[in-house]
Amino acid sequence: MIVGRIIGSVVSTIKHPCYNHQKILLVKPVSPQGAPQSGLMVAVDLVGAGSGDLVLVASEGRAAEELLDFSCRMPVRSLIVGIIDQIDL
């Protein structure tokens, strides 16, 4: 998993059915100190995260398939699986 910050959301009308009714957010990977890193992720939110939140993003297809509880093979990889309260360094 990586640490990221929610910087926005994705609105899409025409999308794969597996993404229907899912909240799709834009996540910027950040360092533990909160400094933005390179790259940008699009992730399905499972925990009710909002803009500015520091979150945990897991990128593993099979885990996504199981957590989203769909019977179809899911073309989903990145999931927001937790909102970070605190990082103890």
Binding site: M1, I2, V3, S31, P32, Q37, L46, V47, G48, A49, L56, A58, S59, E60, G61, R62, A63, A64, E66, L67, L79, V81, G82, I83, I84, D85, Q86, I87, D88, L89
Partner: protein
């Protein structure tokens, strides 16, 4: 697998159910000579690693292959605490010597 140093822990209250009870560690990935890189990963700990220890991190679907991790939605797991690292005949790291 990659080498990393345990830099800290992550506290998260709002998380998916299947992550409850799992220890989330913040890992700084290091080179074989244990020099830090700028890459970090958050991994679920299955071996009881502590802060400052050098560990082996496995990523991707393989991270869910340990016995305790079958149903855990993780893409990174700590699977071993490293005793020593040898590169081209030289010992680059030895836990006993620090």
């Amino acid at each position: 697998m990659e080498l990393g140093r345990v830099e800290g822990t992550i506290v998260s209250t709002a998380k998916v159910d299947r992550l409850h009870g799992q220890k989330l560690m913040l890992i700084n990935l290091v080179n074989p000579d244990i020099k830090p890189t700028s890459n970090y990963v958050v991994a679920v700990d299955s071996v009881g690693a502590g802060k400052g220890e050098i560990v082996l991190v496995v990523r991707g679907s393989s991270a869910r292959q340990t016995q305790s991790m079958q149903n855990v939605p993780t893409d990174a797991s700590i699977i071993a605490i490293v005793d020593s690292v040898e590169l081209k005949g030289k010992i680059l790291y030895n836990k006993a010597k620090g």
